[in-house]
């Protein structure tokens, strides 16, 4: 389901950048933190940002957030079914 016509949520200043990780990046992330998929924070497939990106369950989303302490902070969430 595409985003509603004429409204791009990513254009809103409160919505951080979302990006789907490639297979290699996924692999790398799991290796870096020595974790299983189930140990990642989750994001629901019905999340507006996930829908706008067209991500499917099993994809990992990279969220680039503004952080008051660190400047930029990357967060990773695994897309799960609702």
């Amino acid at each position: 389901m595409a985003a509603k016509k004429g409204f791009n949520i990513f254009a809103h200043e409160l919505v951080p950048e979302h990006r789907i990780l490639s297979e290699e990046e996924k692999e790398e992330l799991l290796k870096k933190y020595k974790i299983k998929i189930s140990q990642l924070p989750q994001i629901k497939a019905k999340d507006p940002a996930v829908q706008a990106l067209g991500a499917k369950p099993g994809d990992i989303i990279e969220i680039k957030r503004k952080s008051p302490t660190a400047g930029v902070y990357y967060y990773y969430r695994i897309v799960v079914e609702d």
Binding site: S67, T69, A70
Partner: protein, 908 residues
Amino acid sequence: MREMQSIKKVIGSIEFGILSPQEIRKMSAAEITVPDTYDDDGYPIEGGLMDKRLGVIDPGLRCETCGARYGECPGHFGHIELARPVIHVGFAKTIYRILESTCRECGRIKLTEEEIKDYMKKLELVGDRKKARDKLIREIHKKAKERMVCPHCGAPQFPLKFERPTIYWEVRKDELGNEYRHRMMPTEIRDRLERIPDRDLPLLGLHPEKSRPEWMVLTVLPVPPVTVRPSITLESGIRAEDDLTHKLVDILRINNRLKTNIEAGAPQLIIEDLWDLLQYHVTTYINNETSGVPPAKHKSGRPLKTLAQRLKGKEGRFRGNLSGKRVNFSARTVISPDPMISINEVGVPLAIAMELTVPEKVTEFNIEKLREMVLNGPEKYPGANYVIDPQGRRIKLMESNKEKMADMLDIGWTVERHLLDGDIVLFNRQPSLHRMSIMAHRVRVMPYKTFRLNLAVCPPYNADFDGDEMNLHVPQTEEAQAEARILMEVQNHIISPRYGGPIIGGIQDHISGGYLLTREGAYFTRSEVEQMLMFAGVDIDKLPEPDKVENGVEYWSGKTIFSLLLPEGLTIWYRNKLCDDPSKCEPLEKLIEEKLLPDPEEVKKLAYDGFVYIQNGKLLSGAIDKKAYGREDGKILDIIVREYGVERARQFLDQVTKLAIWVITHKGFTTAIDDEDLPEEAMDRIKEIIREAEERVNRLIEAYKAGELEPLPGKTLEETLESKIMAVLAEARDNAGKVAEQYLGMNNFAVIMAKTGARGKILNITQMAALLGQQSIRGKRLHRGYRGRVLSHFKPGDLGARARGFIVNSYKSGLTPQEYFFHAMGGREGLVDTAVRTAQSGYMQRRLINALQDLKVDYDGTVRDPTGIIVQFRYGEDGVDPMKSWQGKTVDVERVIVRSLLKLRAKR
């Protein structure tokens, strides 16, 4: 001690599962068949519930399983072979769910192979997330129970009915299509559960190896060791058995009757009755508060405390014995202040020091000292209460054996000696809301009966001396003592992790005294200087040159003396709380900006109490106030902690507080009612301000009544009027305050306290000297009470200032009765607020702690829960320890630049 040596093992992990009948039999030391405990001689009956193979509780007997005596034998399980299986109440609902989800013929879960594969995958994705997992299991159950034909064998299914606590019905249909209910006995249920294949179990939320479903129907009942259900001998000499033993006797009695009846081929009806009775006893044995089951009662009518009751609730095993427990080597008493001890010390009453002990191993270095202490015994300080020999035997020291023990004392022994000065202890005050609520202190043994603590540590504990009590714990191992020393000592907590600034610092008189010492024009004679430095414990060989000589008398300025406490080379400048005229700071600021380290004489010419400039450890300008070493914003203290370390900061704080106290006690400092005296001229001006304000309020009311008031955007006419009146009255109070301030200068003690931040605000002085001002509830003027008025002393509908809670009197002039009532109304709100706030924040705190207590920062900087689920990829997003941060930020860039410049200058 000795029995511990035989079972020294480390727990690697814990798994929870259901005991299988085989396991129960395997861990059993004896089968119990006799529904009795002791024979007429008071000797345990073989095969009875107190069988010696289950352990012993009589001092004279030996355990027949391990051979050990009472107190050493941990006890051993036994078992009862049940004549007929019974449902375990704890699993009654689970059994119902499993029966509903599986086929009554083939035992497979009633899902298609495709669905099974799908759900298995989902289950894997869910991992250890309990909530999501439970949700998925519920979903599977819902889907499977709807299937009325088995997808595997095609057998038709019947709906099930569950009747609390342990009865199951199958709603069957006969050939004519008439519904009838079939009671499923535990044997039938067990058969069906046995048929469920292992591979379907994960979908039912079970682990095939750890919990087979048929184990939820008991065929063998474990009998807990005698040691967990000891009988008590009453004063009358009668033995009283534990509730669990009573219940087990009931179970055995019915079990035996059921067995004989079955063997005798009794009618089915009788057997089923007995079976149900056995079920009842086993049910109440497990949980005597099962709903729908009358609780088993003692002869006296008191309900029995069975297995579940031992675990549940506030006094249960979990909350009462595991999450919180009673401890040894602890003390509690009232606290009182002692400004002479260090912030990391605690005064311990002698009586407590002789009760609490530290185990100290005897070595060739301390044997003489410890022998002396053993010789002193438990009643002479410094003595010892116990010695432990190399075999681990703990021997109590008494007047009678102390000489003998001192003689025998040798290397390899341990002495539990009295608390000595310098021992490390943990000190705590409830409610322990943050980590500074428990800190390590060094012991100072003192006379009298209270714990003594330095005033600077009151803020982290939130302690005062109106009867507060505190707890003290003595770490018993070298590891614990070392950890406490390194991590928990008070000086390590000067900087709070809450806001990255000092939480421990000078308070009240420390601040006022610091001001009296360092303000412009404060000079001290040689004798004064020598006394105060001695008092503060400042160790110097020679006084600096006097700042001035008048009539042949030498004088030192307070700034010079204060500088003696500062670390050498410290350079810092800031505007403090006393700076009310920026133009007086600016010339100095400009000078420093230009030259970085300007000539001290040049600085002294520009010196201003409101601007602190410390150059190379010399205070050249500015007076000391809360911003110097007070809590929350003590700049000098902050810098010393960061640049000279916590030990130096502790020394500084100890010395500076004592110095301030010397000054304040010797110069004299008091506040009384005459501190609020204003000259008549000032009172007239205040009266005029009030009169004017009331007039303006009346004009506003008239304008409102005449309909001439313009409403403010977003407000009704009434709201507009209210907000305008409030503004006028607030301004009036501020102006009156300013007038009062003008007439009260820095020679007024109340003003000194307010301005330096030692205690109170200027507002408090205003309220005492000038007027109280508007009382309010929820930010509005008072309006509730009678119809159209707050008190019957006013006309209905009176919107005037005085009728709606504006108090024109001061605390000093005294309130009118009406004003007094208004004040009580406003004051009540404050009380209610605090009461409500503490309750709410306490609840919030508990919820937060429960949610966060198991999270930890891993070595890779991530924040994870115990199962390894990531919560943050980097702690706090920046990975910074807030206690090591600067006001929450990673670095203080400006300070780094300043320090670099200073270093550069020093090289040149």
